[in-house]
Symmetry: C2
Subunit: 411 residues, 2 copies
């Protein structure tokens, strides 16, 4: 296929996606995860090259699974090669921030009904001290145990009773309600809870039901992980379209930013990751920010997050002056590096015009404009947790490397 | 007080309101309603002068209460003066469309914590064939019985357990999510359900809980009645501020549009009501539209609905071309007849500028611009129910009459 036809096919697949939330089951079942395998965000990376919060999260996960009794044992296990590290993306999953997934963690299952592929993500842990930001104390492990033993199974029963929940429709509606589904998920989280409730109250009862509902009600970012799983389910069918220059994956591991391109299959193109800028929680500043991390940039890959900034004027305060003009400017800039407009993800402040979708590595390299990513900011010191939220640019290097591979046929 | 000081005080009271949802109890208890008393929307009106949907709703209410066995008996009872008709507004309440309230109906209780006054509204019945649009068949009466016997008491228990729900904060957030809280309440209804859930799942259980939750989940306009009760609770403290030309009430009974003005206390100024224009359901057109009806224009009185159109570009399609430009135009026009900007109700597409609030009868008369109202459209034939949704202008006559009364001191 020539590039034009290949990109048309890539765009067609991206826009035809029908992500449906069907289940919540242990990662061992959904992803076939083995013991002592730890999935992480971003492209492949060794223990030695990992940033402190990612290592800290791994220590937490090894203790949570009972593969190491304490912090020292966990570090020793990792250092001596006793743990297999793999990107979430290699096992059909995505994870926010450190992105850790191990076998006993419950994961949501999202089916792309148009293509039959699936993607998974864990249940969002909420704010504050949480594993995904590298916190690993007892409260973090206790919450993970509750998610595994009570919340996950109840969500799974409710989802199986509900018989599949159309995430594309839900996301389209949330976009009309001020969410760009990366920095802001309050509408989507509310709509999801609403959609799940009739099944939840039939499958759950008493204190267990009340605990899950309070947890979901208290977390405006609950939907983020589902937006990510839906995005991966939508983007994966692009991998392997020979000749296509459309980006199918964007992900960060805290050290490198990696992309995968439709025409280059499973191959990663990486470059050193930038550090996000934005607004910091009281007591923290730019010096506390860890370099960019997480698989969440998969939502920008399908036209959400910073791509759809115009739908979320309040989120635009993380970039420059903020406000509607700034939000419109960001989305308009992203239109310069994308090939299409999303027929379902429509932006109310642009009279229903579709969000920019389908990042073309050729356009990125030609313009020097790299995708903007809306993101949370992890503390660079192990165990700190989240320190703020902001935006970050994808580094140009991975796009030039991909374009070179495509041009020379070494895809 | 001179007019300027009086209006400053009126605006101060309007903007200082703290509406808190505290309870759901029978109207007999909340409003002291007696047997054979029927509250209706808008200014006072006789049975003979009522439009067909209002009469039909009354027939339904008399049967529901058991005060008449059938339609013929109900009409005869009303015709021979056996029913006392009063505006909802005279008894501390507001009702959408026909606005019917009788003693056994459960009503929400909203307290204005800044001034100690209260206001009530019924539970929104949902879409389709419902009493508020003049439908009165068995399905309508069965739903009313369920609201009375099961849904209302459970909502009451949940609200008492929750200990008061801050509606101002909830409405401020919904405005960031595309609701103007008249035509569009999907965000507010979702946020309300979310806020109530922890108490609901502790007070309810089994099929009764499931039925209520399914009912709430299925009704995007559930919050409308609460926006109205909150608005009345906020606006009532204006009544009786001597010299003030600020509008404290706007309401329609299907025959007349009535306003009350801060400086004129309980006195109504009325003029023949206009008929809304807008979009009609399949099979219906402008010829099927009943003239404007309902107390819901109380939300425009406090800066929501059409006043906040800029927050809801999708709602602007009911006026002209629609889209963001149209939505901004409507809100900007309303700024010409209002005295202030709401410090809590902020419009995201105007970089957080406050919604126009405090309609000044002097400005309305001077400019000839009357308030625009977003509204549902009832079928003019009894028993039809809703036929569409659109917008309508308040008639100038009630504003000129009020201004004359204020000017001549016959307030």
């Amino acid at each position: 296929m020539n590039v034009k036809a290949a990109n048309a096919e890539a765009l067609r697949r991206l826009l035809a996606a029908e992500p449906v939330l069907t289940d919540c089951v242990p990662a061992a079942e959904a992803l076939g995860l083995e013991a002592r395998t730890v999935l992480h965000a971003g492209p492949p990376i060794t223990w030695e090259a990992m940033c402190a919060p990612l290592q800290a999260a791994i220590v937490g996960a090894l203790r949570y699974e009972g593969w190491a009794a304490g912090e020292g044992a966990a570090v020793a296990l990792a250092e001596r090669g006793g743990v297999r590290f793999e990107p979430c993306h290699h096992r059909g999953a995505v994870g926010p921030m450190t992105g850790l997934i191990t076998r006993s963690m419950p994961v949501f299952v999202v089916e792309n009904r148009a293509f039959g592929n699936r993607a998974s993500a864990t249940i969002n842990e909420g704010l504050g001290r949480v594993l995904r930001f590298g916190a690993n104390d007892e409260s973090v492990l206790a919450r993970l145990a509750w998610l595994r033993d009570e919340a996950g199974p109840l969500l799974g029963r409710a989802l199986r009773r509900a018989g599949g929940l159309d995430l594309r429709a839900l996301m389209a509606q949330a976009l009309q309600m001020g969410d760009e589904m990366h920095q802001r998920n309050v509408a989507a989280s509310s709509l999801l809870l609403r959609a799940l409730l009739p099944s939840l109250v039939r499958e759950g009862a008493g204190p267990a039901l009340a605990r899950l509902i309070e947890f979901m009600v208290g977390n405006d970012q609950f939907f983020l992980n589902l937006a990510m799983a839906a995005a991966k389910a939508a983007a994966d069918p692009l991998l392997g379209i020979s000749g296509s220059t459309v980006v199918a994956t964007m992900a960060r591991n805290g050290t490198e930013f990696g992309i995968r391109v439709a025409g280059c299959g499973a191959r990663w193109f990486t470059a050193p990751v930038n550090t996000p800028e934005g607004l910091f929680f009281p007591g923290f500043g730019p010096a506390d920010a860890n370099p960019d991390i997480g698989d969440s940039a998969i939502v920008e890959t399908i036209g959400l997050g910073a791509m759809a900034m115009a739908a979320s004027p309040p989120v635009a305060r993380f970039v420059g002056a903020g406000g509607l003009a700034e939000a419109l400017r960001v989305t308009e800039e992203m239109r310069e590096i994308t090939l299409g407009e999303h027929p379902h993800f429509r932006i109310p402040t642009q009279d229903g015009r579709g969000a920019p979708v389908g990042v073309d590595v050729r356009r990125v390299v030609a313009t020097g404009i790299t995708p903007l990513i809306n993101t949370g900011i992890a503390g660079r010191k192990a165990g700190t947790g989240q320190v703020g939220a902001g935006v970050v640019r994808a580094p140009l290097g991975c796009f030039t490397a991909a374009l070179e591979a495509l041009a020379t046929g070494h895809a």
